[in-house]
Subunit: 243 residues, 2 copies
């Protein structure tokens, strides 16, 4: 049985301050919850809607609690609550593997964009995403939802971009509105880092000065001033991986 | 002065049924409003927040009304309301130019994705987006916001994809999870159409049967099962335009 206090506690995890206080976050949807379990994340609770047939391919019985539709909607971040909502312990990555490719994000503010980019990393087999201190919380429910389960497989490190990337030996590319054409760049032969800036302000000029990346651009010809940060990341990663 | 009834009326335009009833929709943000004015859309009202310096480079004085911060937030779709919200008349495109490229969307349900795709079209100079009858309303405030003003420049036609695209003479490509590699396709030499399916169900099999498009895929190697519809559209359009 799910007490009112427990529902309040879980619902509070929609807010960053409570995620940080309790070291927990929410994952919605049977498929996404299963991905986290498969990848060895620790579920403190899995709440499933009564009368819905929700099954997991793992030993999770000890933490499964059933709840009414009304209770599910009290905890859910979505208009149509999922049939399963789980509470997992957050993980704080300490360091990245500098021999492997990285997507690095400077002050991204949109939680959906962050999630979309984590999903792109997973699609192309880039296992690590570095986010600046001021980037939106990676455990935001909208971010987790936008990753469609990819969050469970990708290492996300929050830290100082200059300190973390200075020892990186591969090419560092930066998405810039007026950079060099990505279509004329040879495909990197080793691990690379792609640096993406905020939706409204681009990449911090100090960061560009200190990391001295290769500035790259996507060529357009229409009226739009820019592309969505997630879309730009997808196009550039596709060019860096496939040439 | 803005009456309470007027505020109610404008706020109702956040809902599809009232947009359809009144033939009007909302645009938020000074820059986006200016784009619509520049492109010749008819503004029935432009509400600007009092004590904010909001100016337009056009003759719009007749329709400008000032409002308090509280009134702005009553009309706004966002947590932080814009300094300008305008009411424009909807336009219903009747036909597309079949000699020019088209992005066609089958049953897209996410308003943000639709907006992102309209912004991609504008970036690459593709002037027309065809959406199936069941695609989310193109005048949804989240769609309009995600286009970042590009909506004002792109022709969006809602209609039957088979009927509209059957006379199209250029190549029709369809984004399919297990299609042919986009990297091995030659760049189309003439106008093309790119067909994108719904986020959860892909493209309707009947549509594929009737239009017989060239099935194309983006090659991944990680764990994600798919890419976000907007990201996939960006990558495929980039390959079709730049090879």
């Amino acid at each position: 049985m799910l007490s009112t206090n427990r529902i309040k506690l879980y619902r509070s995890l929609q807010q960053k301050k409570y995620r940080q206080k309790y070291g927990q976050f929410l994952v919605e949807g049977q498929k996404s919850v299963q991905e986290f379990i498969n990848q060895g994340w620790t579920a403190d609770a899995i709440i499933v809607q009564e009368n819905k047939s929700v099954k997991f391919n793992s030993e999770v019985e000890g933490v499964v609690i059933s709840a009414s539709e009304r209770q599910m909607s009290q905890m859910s971040n979505f208009k149509t609550p999922s049939e399963a909502i789980a509470v997992f312990k957050t993980r704080n990555a300490k360091k990245l593997n500098l021999a492997k490719s990285i997507i690095a994000l400077d002050t991204l503010s949109d939680p959906g964009n962050l999630g979309t980019i984590i999903r792109i990393a997973d699609w192309y087999g880039i296992e690590q995403v570095l986010i600046s201190e001021l980037t939106v919380d990676e455990y935001n429910p909208k971010t987790i939802a936008a990753t469609m389960g990819s969050f469970a497989r990708i290492k996300v490190l929050r830290g100082n971009l200059v300190h973390t990337l200075t020892p990186f030996l591969g090419n560092v590319y930066a998405a810039i509105l007026k950079g060099e054409s990505i279509y004329e760049k040879p495909k990197p032969s080793a691990a690379f880092c792609l640096l993406i800036g905020s939706e409204s302000h681009g990449i911090n000029p100090d960061l560009l000065k200190q990391l001295d990346p290769i500035p790259v651009s996507i060529q357009g010809k229409g009226g739009a001033e820019s592309l969505n940060a997630g879309v730009a990341t997808g196009i550039l990663v596709d060019r860096l991986i496939h040439g």
